[in-house]
Symmetry: C2
Subunit: 449 residues, 2 copies
């Protein structure tokens, strides 16, 4: 049996979340952030880094220790006088369960409270099986991961759960909204389903937002030479992350934070009108959608025709050799090998994506445009075509030092992104506000013991 931890979102006492002043909570978040980011490791360092008085810092640190999110141990090097105790995030006080679900693949993982991946599992699965079977399977795999951990180090409480879905999600409610490729999922209460099973606060977002968060983490990691998954950026960043895979979507990062929009569906660019694609019917029912004309699924369909009718012997050869038939990978490989048909298809796709992105670059003015997804991150040819389209139509000021790059995140940016989402929420204002009257999971355990 997996560890069943104490409730993380129990009934709230007489002092409800709404009664706690923002400034108090923000003060705690600020101190916690300094320690989480490794900027300050002792009370004197927090005093120096924050400019707050010693007694204010002592009070806030005491509150965070009491809440069970910080820990103190050992002593740090002293600059004279009594050596100060070292403060640290209690990164092993609990774990986070993450499940970035794809259209045809199910990935689950478990991370510590710093976002470091402890274990993961991966298997083929169809999201179209519906929420019941898919989430049952997620639960089984979560349990298996926790059993493995428990065998190693004893039971560990689950502090939070993060789920990614391949379709529009209303972030505040944690429910998918009319997702085109997820029959049976419309308005499913994914959050309630998982938060009840794991007795932990749960957040749900679309896969592209999580990939964008994962990209932010990976780029910060590369800059700092260490891996603070789920950490907060050091400075504002304006990034537009675009996934070009089977489908097409975007994630918006402004001032280092994900912008989810008024309904949590910002970045849904797969179904905007593509120039000149008026006669193509999309899976969403509309015609001429960018995804239907330039997405990986469209390319694979056209590639299969070219392989079948003899137009492209290279694609026919790759189709015969691939166990599951032609996929995005095969089209990318054929283009890399110089197959003229494939090169033209990928370039045409990049040109269309670039035209739409030129509009979005003018509108959003990002400093960095990142292409991810199997087609976006996998093909230099696509990157070049997109670049061309963007530079051709965007304003000089917007493109003056705009970088257009492939994704830096590794094979599964969704795992890192899901952990980052959970940890940002868990150590952010709303969750601390809930914990303050009652303690965090480990704080309550400590009190109960």
């Amino acid at each position: 049996m997996p560890t069943i931890p104490p409730r993380a979102e129990g009934p709230v006492g007489p002092v409800g979340p709404a009664d706690l002043p923002d400034d108090l909570v923000d003060g705690l978040v600020a101190v916690l952030d300094l320690v989480r980011r490794g900027v300050a490791r002792t009370r004197p360092e927090v005093v120096r880094a924050s400019g707050l008085g010693r007694s204010v810092v002592a009070g806030r640190v005491a509150r965070l220790l009491e809440l069970g999110v910080l820990d103190e141990h050992g002593t740090a090097p002293s600059s004279g006088g009594r050596a100060p105790r070292e403060l640290a995030l209690r990164h092993d006080a609990g774990v986070v369960l993450v499940a970035p679900l794809g259209a045809s693949r199910l990935t689950v993982g478990v991370t510590d409270l710093a976002g470091t991946l402890l274990a993961s599992l991966d298997e083929p699965a169809s999201i179209a099986d519906g929420p019941g079977p898919v989430l049952d399977r997620v639960d089984e795999l979560f349990a298996r991961l926790l059993d493995g951990l428990a065998a190693e180090r004893g039971p560990v409480p689950v502090w939070g759960v993060g789920v990614g879905l391949p379709g529009p999600v209303e972030f505040l409610s944690g429910r998918p909204n009319r997702p085109p490729i997820m029959p049976g999922w419309d308005d499913a209460d994914v959050r309630a389903r998982l938060s009840e099973r794991w007795d932990a606060p749960t957040w749900v977002d679309n896969d592209v937002n999580l990939m964008a968060l994962g990209e932010v983490v990976a780029r910060r990691h590369a800059r700092q030479g260490r891996a603070p998954l789920g950490d907060r950026p050091d400075q504002p960043e304006d990034m537009l992350f675009v996934k070009v895979g089977t489908g097409i979507g975007a994630g918006l990062v402004a001032r280092g934070r994900l912008l989810r929009g008024a309904h949590g569906c910002a970045g849904d660019i797969g179904h905007v009108e593509a120039p000149g694609g008026a006669d193509v019917v999309c899976r969403c029912g509309n015609t001429g959608c960018l995804e239907a004309v330039a997405g990986g699924a469209a390319l694979v369909r056209r590639a299969a025709e070219m392989a079948a009718d003899g137009t492209s012997p290279a694609l026919a050869r790759l189709a015969a050799a691939a166990p599951g038939g032609l996929g995005v990978e095969e089209v990318v490989r054929a283009a890399q090998e110089g197959d003229r048909t494939s090169v033209e298809m990928v370039q045409a796709s990049g040109h269309l994506v670039g035209q739409v992105l030129a509009t979005l670059v003018n509108f959003f003015d990002p400093g960095l445009l990142v292409l991810g997804g199997r087609l976006g991150a996998g093909s230099d040819l696509l990157l070049a075509s997109v670049r061309q389209g963007v530079y051709q139509r965007s304003l000089p000021l917007a493109t003056r030092d705009l970088r257009v790059e492939s994704a830096a995140a590794g094979d599964d940016p969704g795992l890192a992104g899901a952990a980052a989402m959970v940890l940002d929420e868990l150590f952010g204002r709303e969750q601390l506000r809930r914990w303050l009257p009652q303690g965090s999971p480990s704080g309550r355990r400590a009190t109960a013991a």
Copy 2:
């Protein structure tokens, strides 16, 4: 002679801006915000609203009094014990000079530190005369406004200057960047020019961003039933403001704050590609730009042809009656009066704008889409066509409760917006950080006296 106030951005002492900890400055901004917004009027109210300790509040208030941005006077009603002194923003301690400049009109104003307009002047002027003549004229009008004020109430120090320009502006440097309709202005150091003349910190932004800020202020005002110009929003708001006038541009508001992008040119949608306008040459040199096909200037040009060749007798009549010839107003009026040619032109323009906005709504997911500008705010016909385009192509989740409305701000949202920009910056982190070592203008005056 106008009042020449003490330096607002003098040489900084040994403790430079970069050495001041963020947390200290943020703490002051938080307390100042509570008083500016009218949430707290006494120290005990600040304690209650912020959750901070009494001594922390006392320290921060003392610092703000010393800086000269807050004032205390009289006594507030007591809840027992000694009646607390009432705190207030020193809104009459100085003034803000604002100049939202249009392509063919020059407007200047002076507001107090709460953003209330004290006086304004307005005259025809061509921005194409270049920065020298235009800014000289702005200085003359500023001086006239200050002379008028000085005659009434004695000399008043200028705390800040805000300028709006009808073209792309790099917000951080305060310089226009290749503005298409502003010959001679490219890279002009507008900030230095005005901050030296008026010895006050100066901010420059494009006209549409200032209109968007003015709209935020007007809507907050309407909600609260009072007019806190330059105030900060009470809650996050996601608004897309689109100006359809001679040109076309947008302002993005996320979580109640203006998003300016990595280069300060977010919202530049006038030169994105319009569907089906490939053969129209734009003033920017590119072809098929939205503005060239659907903007007011394009409509007026087409309307003049229709008036001349007898296609539209209504337009010919209005052209003959208008002193300056046909303008956007005449086309809007002809459409309102049922002139078929004008109705069709306005509808076609609205349809194109709506198609582009559908993409941006999917991408940005605003809760509110506001149409401003002489064509955008003036024509219900245009509003209806834009609405149709947006609802037709946007995702169900994004449009579920999206409001598409005309601008609520009055005749000159640029004045209110420019004041809001200056006050947000003046009472924000960066400016307080500069003031802390040396005092604000009135704080320094108080010390020198």
